[in-house]
Amino acid sequence: MQGVSKHFPIRSFRRFGEVVHAMDDVSFSLGKAEVLALVGESGSGKTTTASVIAQLYPITSGLIRLADPQAPDGFRSVSGKLSRKALLGYRKRVQMIFQDPFGSLNPTHTIEHILSRPYVIHDKVVYRRGEERRKTALKEQLHQLLRSVGLEPPQQYLDKFPHELSGGQRQRVNIARTFSIEPEIVLADEPTSMLDVSIRMSIMNMMLAFQEQKQVSFLYITHDLAGARYMAQRIVVMYAGMIMEIGTSDEVVQRAVHPYTKLLRSAAPAPEEGLKRNRLITQGDIPSLIHPPAGCRFHPRCPYAMAECSRLIPPLKEVEGGHWIRCYL
């Protein structure tokens, strides 16, 4: 294995007849066992990015490639329409954790049923022969799984329904389900934003522990810059469907170059710095994605906007090794 990575330049994305430019020209790569954070405000295209990688929507243009040792150059394109079987194989490798722990577990099924589905669908039950043995083997695997996400004793949880669990416990079940089939890539869409502050940290730590143990690649989506820095090695900043800045976590947080990243940085609560720091220098909201502004998408709000910013979309340029920005500055 030469390291899992994917590339996907994608150009616009169609919905309901009208074109919403939810993602435009988004390219990045995800390395094996890397945690990459995708940061931006609501409507910046973060969730769309995860959804197209998870193959929940087809892409309009561009390429998504997944490492495949059998392919001639080590990558296979997965951006076209996949057959049922190929899709199943793809989902075995790429799994998603959803934001809402209340809406992502079927309320009519027990935890046992919910967690055994991936094993059954992907035929991952390890057993010798006979239906009875298969059932015991599955149960043993479920016990192990629940223990691994800190839901102990496991037999106490198997017969419960999702509504009997707290938000944190449900998110643990979600994580257990995601990791049950040992995927190579996990797409985590704001997995802690709906949880209580006191349990957020333990969920984040658990995801990091899994990631390290199983050498999984993680795409961690969040609007919280500090959380992104805590989780990820690299950060991608998105705004209005386009990537504004990419770099290592410390580069992006401490030495942000793009005005939008600076804005995000100054808006984030930072108690250690106090309120005395500079006021925000911006106005306006995220632009319409149906008719995005010409040129740089951020220029209507940018304090440093120049004439050329409203004419041409600035290309991504490298400011330092591995630190890219989409800005003329």
Binding site: E41, S202, G227, Y230, V253, R265, A267, P269, A270, L275
Partner: protein, 328 residues
């Protein structure tokens, strides 16, 4: 002390041993259990805690916005000599909005979707018989201007406004009758970081200009530390720590406060693995006899589970409900 300082240091609201909660079939949920605090004129008091710790119940108790099964069991809420907790409904009605107003959680749902915002703004003015519709409209346009919403939005419906604008309309509404105290219950929780920051800056600016006191309720401690003068940390219906915001942030005394502080990764400095808090809050119908944080506490020792430690002064002006034995 000159007259101005005296005026500013005067307690405007005092809450004494308040017990409030909800009457359920299974028993009385003591959502607020013996809470005392005081609010000075012009002060910004932050109340932080996780869901279910009683912070919203406390806010509703101060406004007496209880109905059906919610009750104030005992305690006093003193506002300029009057006890809100035991006042008649008529008296409370006069206080509400005139003297104490509130910005509700989730502006998205707090505004009536079928009425233009102008009509909703003038409502309180007319209900409190401050004058006729023309005067009400003048005042509404005035407060809209305060929160930077252009006049032509007066007849807009809530769905025509963005989330941040709706929240600003809520703030404008709370300021209609020039109250002395504004209670804000998670006013920025559903908003994006950038919008949140602009709202917070607006609140601070208005507070300086209009000199009202704020009780700001949120679970986002990192935000609160930045903006409050005084900080109260609630856990399972009780205040477990109280003091000047910077003091509580720099040297949190109660293990729960320490746990909360360790739940927010920072933007600068080395990235250290942080703990957070394991476990979940206790059942408030039948709370444990000792310290309510005992089952989740890292520094617990025998004795904590038997009797609850009272709030005590650990430094001048800084109180915590922990015996602090772990401090050595």
């Amino acid at each position: 002390m000159n007259a101005m300082q005296e005026f500013l240091s005067e307690n405007i609201l005092e809450c004494q041993e308040l017990v409030a909660g909800y009457e359920l079939k299974a028993g009385f949920v003591r959502a607020v259990d013996g809470v005392s605090f005081s609010l000075r004129r012009g002060e910004f008091l932050g109340i932080a805690g996780e869901s279910g710790c009683g912070k919203t119940t406390l806010a509703y108790a101060v406004m007496r916005l209880f109905r059906d099964n919610a009750k104030i069991r005992s305690g006093k809420i003193l506002y300029s000599g009057k006890d809100i907790a035991n006042a008649s409904e008529e008296e409370v009605k006069n206080l509400r909005w005139e003297h104490i107003s509130m910005v509700f959680q989730s502006a998205m749902n707090a505004l009536n979707p079928v009425l233009p915002i102008g009509e909703q703004l003038t409502d309180a003015w007319l209900a409190h018989k401050h004058g006729d519709l023309r005067e009400a409209k003048t005042r509404a346009l005035e407060v809209l201007k305060l929160v930077d919403i252009p006049e032509d939005r007066y007849n807009a419906y809530p769905h025509q406004l963005s989330g941040g604008m709706k929240q600003r309309v809520m703030i404008a509404m709370a300021l209609m009758l020039q109250p002395e105290i504004v209670i804000m219950d998670e006013p920025t929780t559903a908003l994006d970081v950038v919008v949140q920051r602009t709202i917070i800056e607006k609140i601070q600016e208005l507070r300086k200009e209009l000199q009202f006191s704020v009780i700001f309720i949120t679970h986002d401690l990192s935000l609160l530390v930045e903006i409050s003068d005084q900080l109260a940390i609630m856990y399972a219906g009780k205040i477990v720590e109280y003091g000047p915001a910077s003091e509580v942030f720099l040297s949190p005394y109660h293990p729960y406060t320490q746990g909360l502080m360790a739940s927010f990764p920072s933007l600068s400095g080395p990235i250290a693995r942080m703990g957070g808090i394991e476990g979940k809050p206790p059942d408030l119908i039948d709370p444990p006899p000792g310290c309510r944080f005992y089952p989740r506490c890292r520094n617990r020792h025998s004795g904590c589970d038997l009797s609850a430690p009272p709030l005590r002064q650990v430094k001048p002006g800084h109180y915590a409900a922990c015996d602090g034995e772990y401090h050595g």
